[in-house]
Point group: C2
DNA sequence: TAGATTGTTAATCGATTAACAATC
DNA sequence: TAGATTGTTAATCGATTAACAATC
């Protein structure tokens, strides 16, 4: 591990764990920042319907949060509402946009134009909120030159020149996991200071660089956890007696299993739901 | 809002806001559950390199968290380590897999086979961890019948039959935003109880249904917020004097602006970085 | 003025972290 | 035994929430 580099997993919403990230900027908590885009989206929809004002209760419902939280969040931005009336939709759209930095244009490069990179290049929500695809980049000569979303795919060699000439500060990584760190290093070296990582890789970046990650596999695993819990509750089946045994018994069993050099192998291809994990691979006979 | 339905935004990591979600299952905090997949990924990499044991410090580094947090997380699962030695890699892979429900197979349907649905269907990480694509579905007749990732795209009409016959409990929504709620309703009605939503829509689901969302646009906006802050710090430029003014002054200005019927319009197409938001649209002359 | 709704307070809850006793 | 490392404790920090005074 290089000194002065933080492994900023800097993942989802709060995660104040990420060591050196200044958890609040100008006093706005991370959790609030993460909700501002939700409010903005709901407000934009109201704006399109020409709704002039909205109460915290209505807006909270539209954004999927509770109104106390919303009012608290807005209180960090300032006093933008009117007691007894609510919030001016247009005005709040502007204030939140400004707070999020969306009143300026953010050129973005996407590196790795496989299926996912292609999908992102075509993603409408990209352009709609101040983000502009400055370039699509790939290392594969058979992909370079193709066009995606009306833009040519350019070779990685051009990365530095593009980042510098177009003042790109945000990079999106959609490469295979093996290439992600290397691409990240080049982006950072070229001057990118914010990275959105779709590769299932923990990126190491210098201080001052923000990394957020989007990880399909992790999301599914979290759902599976809750799904399993639901199934267990409803059928009454759950862990084996042994796994529910009190600490000492369990520890002794663990020792046995380790001593046996147990090789764990998740069971695959079994019918779903109501299937117990096959313990035979790790349980002593 | 229908009674008995919760708008479970149930977004990223902690978000204990989500009203009725039982925030811990068998005592495992949500924040810990969300990190288990990270540990599992790091452990799997060690396993592939045939590393027999790992310390909390090493594993924490590989997963991008600190070791105190990792040990605390593992303490919720049980006592699976050996003091003075560390953790048995294979054994821990198995225990975490089991905890996450990955020792069983989870059939998944993907609804909406545009660019993103296509990308997900091809996503390797899908199959690798107990998730199996049971079907790809789309409402568009010109898409139905195409094949993606070796599977035929089937018509939405088949949704209910597929969910029931294959015991699908997890659905992935990659439709346009306008169709998402309707698709969600059908999935839930058919028996799906976990939904991963890629559409930028707040989904309303009955109690007992988990929703997680992945939202590219939100991630980029959060990055933009921090990026703007960095730019402001380094150049000393930031808000206008007025916007930094103390409460009462700001409130008075707000009132003026509202009275003027200000129309906010984010400024687009401007050169990036170092551009101030154009306030002319919302500021009184 | 009376009703409505914000902005803030204070209590509660959950997550993080450092430190260290337990123990391999 | 001595060194290493876990599992747990307790303090701290940040986020959520209900309630209500301020005020439109």
């Amino acid at each position: 591990m290089a000194i002065g580099r933080s492994t900023q997993s800097t993942s989802q919403t709060p995660e104040p764990g990420a060591a050196r990230r200044p958890s609040r900027a100008r006093g706005i908590p991370e959790a609030t920042v993460a909700r501002l885009p939700l409010y903005l989206r709901a407000l934009t929809a109201l704006s399109e319907r020409s709704v002039p004002t909205v109460s915290s209760e209505e807006l909270a419902t539209a954004a999927g949060v509770n109104s106390a939280k919303l009012r608290k969040d807005f209180s960090y931005l300032g006093s933008y509402g009117t007691r007894g009336v609510g919030y001016d939709v247009e005005y709040l759209v502007y204030q939140i946009s400004r707070e999020l930095g969306l009143t300026q244009d953010w050129p973005v490069v996407i590196v790795g134009i496989g299926n996912l990179g292609h999908a992102l290049a075509n993603y409408g929500g990209f352009a709609s909120r101040g983000f502009r695809v400055a370039a699509l980049l790939d290392a594969d000569p058979t992909v370079v030159g193709n066009s995606a979303a009306g833009l040519p795919v350019r070779h990685m060699d051009e990365l530095e020149a593009i980042v510098e000439s177009q003042h790109v500060s945000i990079g999106v990584i959609t490469t295979p996991p093996g290439a992600a760190q290397q691409v990240c290093d080049r982006l950072v070296e070229a001057g990118v200071t914010s990275i959105l990582n779709f590769a299932p890789t923990v990126l190491t970046v210098p201080d001052g660089v923000d990394v957020r990650k989007v990880d399909l596999s992790i999301e599914l695993q979290i759902l599976a956890f809750h799904e399993q819990r639901k199934a267990g509750e409803e059928s009454g089946q759950g862990d084996s007696m042994l796994d529910r045994a009190p600490g000492p018994v369990r520890a002794a069993a663990a020792k046995l299993r380790r001593a046996a050099g147990a090789k764990a192998e998740p069971v695959k291809g079994k019918p779903a739901k109501g299937t117990e994990g096959d313990l035979s691979a790790v349980m002593p006979a």
